[in-house]
């Protein structure tokens, strides 16, 4: 017995059938098929090289993506007819897209690696990196070494840090994330993040987990910290914008726009807007730090 999909009742071979059959009669089907093939072929042919005919593409870090979208939206309001598309994928993907020319600009939330240094880049903002825990967790302050030990599973229980007796649930980001790379560079040093750590694919997901789980610890963009989570003090320094700016809180990373070569044309215009006072103010309003602030 073959597996029958619910084909239902078997219709009779009768007059009604013939009427239906005429709807799909020979001449009509040939027309449909020819038209379809033509349309398909034409669209496929004209597709090659049609990219970027009239817009620019910005791709990369999911940390930067929401901010870039806000900037792009404002830019498109100020310049009607301009088309800017923001694409996620992660810092590494964004750098690759810029390198290969798939996108006009790449977004990276970490410093460029040596093999990527040939790219043109500009810093559009600075972002603090906050280590967050649940608001119900009594712990207030940790040293960088302690954070590193937590993440490498040398410390496994909150009671070892002055909290309640409970296993620490370590949360990290995925392997291509700029946020994670920044964290590893700034905090982990030589140690590796434990393979037992829970991996999430966005800042928001990490934040929500930490907000729900009293025993969780994670790291997110400073600009995304809200009242649902608590940002730890590191070595006695509170995680605030001011402390990032004056350098006492040194867990911060640059938000970069990268490109194959120095941008021209529409790309340059958008970049100018991002770096302008207006664009920078928008970013500051969202919680980021402008590279021009305080200088």
């Amino acid at each position: 017995m073959s597996i029958k999909m619910s084909t239902g009742l078997m219709p009779c071979f009768n007059v009604k059938n013939m009427k239906i059959a005429l709807m799909f009669s020979r001449p009509k089907r040939r027309i449909y098929t020819t038209v379809f093939i033509l349309v398909f072929a034409v669209s496929l042919l004209s597709a090659c090289g049609s990219m970027n005919k009239s817009g620019i593409i910005v791709a990369g870090s999911t940390s930067i993506q929401p901010y870039a979208e806000v900037l792009a939206e404002e830019y498109m309001i100020l310049h009607p007819g301009a088309m800017i598309d923001i694409q996620g994928g992660g810092s590494s993907a964004g750098i690759m897209a810029a390198q290969s020319g798939t996108s006009n600009l790449g977004m990276s939330s970490r410093v460029l690696k040596d093999e990527e240094k040939s790219l043109w880049y500009v810093e559009i903002a600075r972002d603090g990196l906050a280590v967050i825990i649940n608001p119900a967790n009594p712990v207030q302050n940790l040293t960088l070494d302690q954070v590193s030990d937590i993440y490498s599973a040398k410390i496994t229980d909150w009671s070892q840090l002055g909290g309640t007796k409970a296993k620490i649930h370590v949360i990290t980001r995925e392997d291509g994330s700029g946020t994670r790379d920044a964290f590893v560079n700034l905090v982990m040093g030589e140690s590796n993040i434990t393979p037992r750590a829970i991996v999430q694919d966005s800042n928001g997901a990490v934040r929500q987990l930490v907000a729900d789980d009293p025993n969780a610890i994670g790291f997110i963009s400073l600009g995304l910290v809200d009242e649902t989570v608590k940002a730890l003090q590191l070595d006695g320094v509170a995680a605030t914008r001011e402390n990032v700016m004056n350098g006492s809180y040194n867990l911060s990373r640059p938000f970069l726009f990268v490109a194959q070569t120095e941008p021209t044309g529409q790309t340059k215009e958008f970049l100018d807007f991002v770096l302008s006072a207006e664009g920078q103010q928008m970013l500051v309003n969202e919680g980021l730090i402008s590279p021009t602030e305080g200088t």
Binding site: I3, K4, C12, F24, M51, M83, A205, Q208
Partner: protein
């Protein structure tokens, strides 16, 4: 201790009704939750405005259009190729090793996770063919993804058309083409439609494959070469980044309603084309 037949019947009846109840309760829990949270969000403004401010305000009109376009591209491409292939396999070839291999491959391919299609689509359509992140890339990727399903269900539907219909047609002097179009196709159309509807449902709900190929742009697409963000994708991004839970629920609610409408309409259309009675 042996349970009497009557008791076994009673116990079985309770368990079976309980399991059906469980399934219904779960369904209601999920659907009602989403609808309750999401339907209040759905307003005329929600349906006609594009997302603003990362999606925190405005509507999701660009997502709706994007979803429909990507699905349309996928279905328009996949259906003729899928149904045609199914016809070829059943009508023009003899049942043998090759057809078995093809059938087996089609079945296996329809089981590959969509993420693999997404990777393929990204490297092939987006980068290699330089179509970029676009509705076309997304649609083509989805077309390839639903192609095996359409081939398989169409083939099944065509094969179950009783051989007598073909015999009668041939004995009346019909050619192969006439037989296919006038005798086999109308009988098989219901099963074929089931496969196409399954494919449509899969396209609308797909996230992993479209993120990599159709992009995640928020503005209204102006051609099939523009990137777009489908509703499933938009929901995922909104919910994960915690940007706006209300809009996320609204998107999810609209998505469920849309899929339901597609199913109902498609079933209605199929019923209209199929003659009733045995």
């Amino acid at each position: 201790m042996k349970i009497s037949a009557r008791n076994a019947q009673r116990i079985a009846k309770i368990l079976i009704w309980a399991s059906a109840l469980l399934v219904i309760v779960i369904l209601l829990a999920i659907v009602i939750f989403i609808l309750i949270k999401g339907v209040p969000e759905i307003s005329w403004q929600f349906l006609t405005e594009i997302p603003r401010n990362m999606g925190r305000s405005g509507g999701i009109s660009s997502s709706i259009v994007g979803t429909l376009l990507v699905t349309a591209v996928a279905v328009i491409i996949a259906t003729p190729f899928g149904v045609g292939t199914a016809f070829y396999l059943t009508e023009y070839t003899r049942e043998g090793k090759i057809t078995r291999i093809i059938r087996f491959s089609a079945e296996s391919l329809s089981g590959i996770p969509s993420i693999v299609y997404g990777l393929f689509g990204f490297i092939f359509f987006v980068m290699y063919l330089k179509l970029g992140w676009s509705i076309l890339s997304g649609g083509l990727t989805l077309a390839v993804m639903i192609l095996p399903t359409i081939i398989r269900t169409s083939e099944e539907a065509i094969r179950t058309v009783a051989y007598q219909y073909r015999e009668v047609s041939f004995s009346l002097g019909g050619t192969k083409w006439q037989t296919i179009t006038k005798a086999v196709f109308p009988s098989a159309i219901r099963g074929i439609a089931v496969g196409v509807i399954l494919g449509i449902g899969r396209c609308v709900a797909e996230t992993a494959a479209v993120i990599l190929t159709a992009g995640s742009a928020l503005r209204m697409p102006d051609s099939i070469f523009s990137p777009t963000r489908t509703m499933a994708e938009h929901f995922y991004i909104l919910a994960r980044e915690g940007i706006s839970m209300e809009k996320a629920y609204g998107t999810a609610a609209l998505l469920i309603i849309l899929i339901f409408i597609i199913n109902v309409v498609a079933n209605m259309l199929v019923n209209r084309f199929v003659a009733k009675g045995r």
